[in-house]
Amino acid sequence: MTGYVLRRLLQLLPVLLLASLGVWAMVFAVPGSPVGALVGENATPEQIRETVARLGLDRPVLEQYWFWLLSALHGDLGLSIQSREPVAMLIAERIPATIQLGLSSTIVGLVFGIPVAIISALSPRGWLDRALSGWSALALGVPTFWLGILLILLFAVTLNWLPSVSAFVPVWLDPWGAVVNTLLPALTLGIYVSGIFARFLRAALLGELKADYVRTARSKGLRERDVIGRHVMRNALLPFVTVVGLMTASFIGGTVVTEAVFTYPGIGRLLIQAIDARDYPLIQGCIMFILVIYVLMNVMVDVLYAYIDPRIDYG
């Protein structure tokens, strides 16, 4: 198993290398010169010459990439243009907050999505299934910013139970404070994603319920809840973990709108601020971070796959 994980991580290297090339080359896609983007619009010719020399932009293109890559590998993603602080540090500060919100949202999504899927699949096309499918469609269809505002209105303004602005309170320092502060944004994202989870799991369960082994399980006289719980669920999880993994990656990679609504200090807001300020080193850093999260999440999904399905040989 360990060997399999190591091998999968090793296989990531070329992917990440290619991704880094894309991220690095982004600067060249900016209208005007990259230097202009790096130093800002009001820079003097002096400053520009100085930056060009400092960044080595007068050297051959490949050498520039190599230089950038080496620094990146040493944890040096450059300085933010706006704040003059190291990009790596800015991102690192946001990581715990982002992961906390991302995981909480996924958990909320699972808590809502899995029961909805199971209940729907048990009586396909029955009235309960229709009602729950309506719920899923609604959860998917309502824009998150609007749902976020509604939740703030209800829980923060009207009932005054929860804060309307969600600060980052680390769960390991103050669990209750973390719940209070994370609940609303996590609900916003979780309700949305529960619609996706419910749809995928319902489809997977319905597919599995038609399988022959289900008939075999019933022919042994198992209780229906054991047929679902022991036999069907594990098989249906296979396609489901892919979706859960991807959605979790997308949350950890930053949820721009929700973080904005709740003024939550996650990667998403950092990225938006960076884009607003045309802070290219910071944009590069954020995007690289998001890419790494996606790729790692994919490996985790594959490892989970091998764990769930014995037919996948991770030897």
Partner: protein, 673 residues
């Protein structure tokens, strides 16, 4: 097979299961339409029928496993319980404690993500017949009872680590755990190879004798029924049309459908000039014919006014009943089979294969380096003459289909020569190969998957002509219409889509498509394996007629030795990528000399209950090994009953030896003792 029931002994009085006027419908489809039967302790009741006859639905109704969309009426009584109205808890208890079920495909019957041990015992654990702590020991004991080697290690394995035959034995172990009163086996060996089928049937028979359970054996295979059943019920269009002891059913079938089925069956033990298929198609449950559902296909009742009313099942002798206005008397039974001579080869060979090899690389996971070879085809020699049918037989995984595909150029050959009409076609450039391929066409096994569902039948048949740019030159639609007529379809059907055709008709379309380019050789890959017996005979006859009319050569790839005997002039037997024996049909079936051929032939169940105990049966050990790790020496030696140390060390050469009727690859060839 068991001491209590051999030869269909008179059953004791109280039945285990009583079915009365059972009817099941799904919407407008009346799938089971009022059936009555009893099953007595210790007996094997065979329920025979073609697809759509309602036999599997009957099995599910008996076990209370039909889904909610089914409409059930009538009565099913099992050990004092009325199953049609029982509450779910009682049904669950009945299934867990008293009734075991064995299903068709052991690959899908078992849950892929749970261990075998757990699946074998979880029913007993759930019903508190054994404790959870005792489950492992129990699983081990159960697997040992069905001859699974090293059961202690096997209980922790998953289904994919078991071979097909072992999986089905595990399912039998599961179904027969505890003290079951009734076992329902729905096509239990249909998905298995014939040598494995023999093993599984033997295990089933032994476990049945040990447990004394009654068995309902549902199958389309008349050979298996003749071999295993005490009594038989024949189903057609949702009704039982005939019941009787197994001897009576096979010796003096009373219903025209039963005798029609027996007549349409190719036999391993004799050769008929021509099969006698049942005309037409089995009806569809939602569109049944009026009156007797069989009358449109019946040779006797087709025009008679009586057959416009549905006959009831009535007793005609003790233990025998028939639902027919004109049950046949003993005189009207099977016609004598006329032995037909296989034709000898003549003229220059059309297709010559010399030392053909098809190897697939096995690659390592990380760097995709080649770490070995799967030797799917490993040195095959074969010749097909014009107008001749050569059979290529063997069990799944022996390489017969790969051989056919390599000849067509659908797979690259790794070595050897393929000559067509004297011309070496191995390594020909693509354009040249296209020219040759016009003369060789391929008919696929699965008529359901091999026709594009969104093209009309006419377009499908015309496609080869369009690919070769010959559509107008050959005469366009008129020519295609002619092909439809030639394969027994009507030109008016050209505009229909594949789903509007039955299985047999689809295979006719597949044959018409193969004939479109006027080839000289057809490679027929299991062309009748997916079809019902009565339809299979129609297609076999069509193939024989076309061959006579067009002078076609056939390479007939198949696993069914009876069909092969009926249609082929020469037969080659493959095992693990090599031909082990090749001979004329008559010599091969009369005096096989390779031990593998002998065991194959002895494993085929014959549709004649009189031969049940008379035949010597060679039950092979184990199953066909992986071609990635073939055994040393003679690849058959681990399963061979004649193997010596020499066989493990030295591979025999395939050649014709003096004094033997066949070419053979064996150190110790010879007639079976």
């Amino acid at each position: 097979m068991s001491p209590t029931s051999s030869g269909g002994a008179a059953p004791p009085d109280a039945p285990v299961l009583s079915v009365r006027d059972l009817a099941v419908s799904f919407g407008a489809g009346r799938v089971v339409r009022g059936i009555d039967f009893d099953v007595f302790p210790g007996e094997v009741l065979g329920i025979v029928g073609e697809s759509g006859s309602g036999k599997s639905v009957t099995a599910l109704a008996i076990s209370g496993l039909l889904d909610a969309s089914a409409n059930v009426s009538g009565s099913v009584r099992f050990a004092g319980l009325e199953i049609t109205t029982a509450n779910p808890e009682d049904l669950r208890h009945m299934r867990g404690v008293d009734v075991g079920m064995i299903f068709q495909d052991p690959t899908t019957t078992l849950n892929p993500v749970l261990t075998i041990g757990r699946q074998v015992t979880e029913g007993q654990v759930a019903h508190r017949l054994i404790s959870a702590e005792a489950a492992d020991a129990q699983a081990e004991a159960l697997l040992r009872e069905v001859d699974i080697p090293d059961p202690a290690a096997r209980i922790g394995q998953f289904p994919h680590q078991f071979s097909g035959g072992m999986r089905q034995r595990a399912v039998i172990a599961m179904a027969m755990a505890g003290h079951k009163k009734l076992i329902i086996a729905d096509e239990p060996t249909t998905a298995l190879d014939v040598t494995v089928q023999a093993q599984v049937l033997a295990v089933l028979a032994r476990r049945r004798a040990e447990t004394g359970a009654a068995v309902i054996l549902i199958t389309h295979d008349l050979g298996v029924v003749a071999e295993v059943a005490d009594r038989v019920a024949v189903m057609y269009a949702g009704r039982i049309v005939e019941t009787g002891t197994v001897d009576a059913i096979f010796r003096t079938p009373r219903h025209p459908y039963t005798s029609g089925l027996l007549r349409s069956l190719p036999r391993l033990d004799t050769v008929a000039e021509r099969l006698q298929p049942i005309d037409g198609q089995p009806p569809i449950a939602s569109r049944l014919p009026s009156g007797c559902a069989f009358h449109p296909r019946c040779a006797i009742g087709r025009e008679r006014p009586e057959c416009q009313t549905e006959p009831v099942l009535r007793d005609i002798a003790p233990g025998a009943s028939v639902a027919c206005h004109f049950p046949q008397s003993e005189a009207a039974t099977l016609p004598a089979r006329i032995a037909s001579e296989a034709r000898g080869a003549r003229g220059a060979p059309l297709l010559e294969i010399e030392d053909l090899r098809v190897h697939f690389p096995i690659r390592s996971r990380l760097l995709r380096r080649r770490i070995g070879w799967v030797r799917a085809v490993d040195g095959v020699n074969l010749t097909v003459h014009a107008g001749e049918t050569v059979g290529l037989v063997g069990e799944s995984g022996c390489g017969k289909t790969t051989t056919g595909r390599a000849i067509m150029g659908l797979l690259p050959a790794s070595g050897g020569r393929i000559r067509f009409d004297g011309e070496d076609i191995t390594g020909l450039p693509r354009s040249e190969l296209r020219r040759i391929r016009r003369q060789m066409q391929y008919v696929f096994q699965d008529p359901f998957a091999s026709l594009n569902p969104i093209r009309t039948a006419g377009e499908i048949v015309a496609e080869p002509l369009r690919i070769h740019g010959l559509y107008d030159q050959m005469g366009g639609d008129i020519y295609i219409g002619g092909l439809f007529e030639k394969v027994g379809l009507s030109a008016a059907m050209m505009g229909r889509l594949p789903r509007q055709f039955s299985g047999g008709q689809k295979q006719r379309i597949g044959i018409a498509r193969a004939l479109a380019l006027q080839p000289r050789l057809l490679i027929l890959d299991e062309p009748v394996a997916a079809l019902d017996v009565s339809i299979q005979a129609q297609i076999v006859n069509l193939l024989q007629d076309l061959q006579r009319e067009l002078g076609l050569a056939y390479l007939f790839v198949a696993h069914d030795l009876s069909v092969v005997r009926h249609i082929c002039d020469r037969v080659a037997v493959m095992y693990l990528g090599r031909i082990v024996e090749e001979s004329t049909r008559d010599a091969l079936y009369a005096t096989p000399v390779h031990p593998y051929t002998q065991s194959l032939l002895s494993a085929v169940p014959l549709p004649d209950p009189a031969l049940r105990n008379a035949r010597r049966r060679i039950v092979l050990r184990g199953e066909i090994p992986s071609p990635a790790r073939p055994p040393t020496g003679c690849t058959f030696h681990p399963r061979c009953f004649r193997a010596t140390a020499r066989c493990a060390a030295e591979a025999p050469v395939f050649a014709s030896y003096p004094g033997l009727p066949s070419s053979v690859a064996c150190h110790f060839p010879g007639a079976a003792e």
